[in-house]
Amino acid sequence: MNYFLTEEQTMIRDLAAQIAREKIAPRAAELDESGEFPWDIVQAMAKSDLYRVFIPTEYEGLGGGCFEMCLAVEELSRACGGISLSYAASALGTIPIILFGSEEQKKKYLPRLAAGEVLAAFGLTEPNAGSDAAGIKTTARADGDSYVINGTKQWITNGGEASIYTVIALTDPTRGMRGSSAIIVEKGTPGFEFGKKENKMGIRASATRELVFQDCRVPKSNVLAKEGMGFLVAMRTLDQSRPGVASQAVGIAQGALDKAIEYSRERHQFGKSISSFQGIQFLLADMATQVEAARALTYAAARAIDSGEKDVSRISAMAKVFASDTAMKVTTDAVQVFGGYGYMKDYPVEKMMRDAKITQIYEGTNQIQREVIALNLIKESVRGARARA
């Protein structure tokens, strides 16, 4: 199907698909089992310049935007939704620097990230602050030329593997979230440790760890934008990364759909392939339609972001919620198509179902996404009413 991509977009998508096919697919089942972080695949992606895609050309990137990043994430996720996170989550961690970094900070961090020499991560969530992001308690106390950070971040993707972390911490606890700042902390800084690697239901080839800060001292120059802008940095970052999660979900769903169609042709019952039965045909048709719709919505959100539109929260949240709900449904249906075999770890779809679940949860639960959508609808309605008045 023609998505009217430019030649360069096609290049990016095809290269990501090639990496997925040749490097990721052969190891997906094994890494899901072992939970090992796929450094060799990261290196292959880095050598192919994949990490350059969404970084501006001034900092050794290829100058692509959210859309190009989504094309890559989808193809990688089609082979494995967990391994693709070593790319997508690094993108999440890089976005704050791209959007809010000073010239100096961009020059310092972006070229290395573009080369895939190091990975990035984004640290917002805490044990007691998930959906209620404003409830974060990690502090960054000013002390001379530095901040001293104390606190714990939880469930950070790429935690422990990444080198560059954007951490949201309270520089002025009296002002709540408005007193938070986004601070870059590098791995290896004294006082910055990692918790144990989480044992997860899915996306097991991605590393999820706690970030533990105990009197971790960082220079004040590591603040992104300005002190007090942490909340804004976080919200803008998530706006731009949500299509990334959406495309991860689309990729997982597409991968499951592909397998389901293939299996339905091979599996014979009652003297025919099960793809001859309407029950299966209708299931596959609905799965495919949902995936295509999710893709279209994801592309729309990504393009809106890249066009420079200011208010992208609603479309971005819609893409994320729809794509992730689709992934969950499509992967569940894929298991159903496989029947008993689908339940067995020997077959690839149960993993895809386990992988899909997280897309409904992280980077803002789908409940929060719905709240964002509703509030934006109402806001737009109010604005519309005022304009007409």
Partner: protein, 267 residues
Amino acid sequence: MKVFVCIKQVPDTTNVRINPETNTLVREGVQSIINPFDVYALEEGVRLKEKHGGTVTVITMGPPQAADALRDAIALGADNAYLVSDRAFAGADTLATAYALACTVRKLGGADVILMGRQAIDGDTGQVGPGVAENLGISHITDIRKIEEISDSRIVVERLLEDGYARLAARLPVVLTVVKEINTPRLPSLKGKLAAKKAEIPVLKASDVDADVERLGLNGSPTQVMKIFTPTRPSGGKKFTGEPASTVGALLSELTLAGISIRKNGK
């Protein structure tokens, strides 16, 4: 270090099928690719350049669409590419092809190492490498699985044989054909692909490479194809039942008839 890599654009024969009704090759949907063995040769050439400095030049003899293969090669790290293309080359067998490529390498000049894969997956002859070397009057060694060391004038290699490997040294310039054991080729890079898109690929005609027209194309080919036919393939599987002595015997006879050997190193 000036490395030349000769590549061939081939149909992906792993995906080629015969249409059972018309007995013709189904080429629809069969992609044209760089001959897989040549990809290994290109990778080795790029590694030599990365280690010792210099350039990697890829050349191919083929129709105009062979330029796509050259662009793929640039995306994989080649610095320059030349398409040797002329109607005069049509119908060339391996002798004529080797002659044309040798003329090109000689004309472009300065080659230290000339690499190519051990065979092309459409022709499977493996004859062009030795032919190029003979035409250039230089040494050749086939089935290289490792380049151990290389200096200005000398190269030490491991050559894979049926029962082991031989370590040999040769003086530069030299033609080497490589086997897949030699390395793991890199994936193309996006920067490479963008460079490939913009690259200027000169097209060299017979006169550009000072080739004697008599020795090119069909005229330059002592061997000529007289007939093409589809081989008898086992259909739906043949099952042998009975005593092991007879079933095994029958199986082995069938295999020999089909030209297939499962004896060690018998392919």
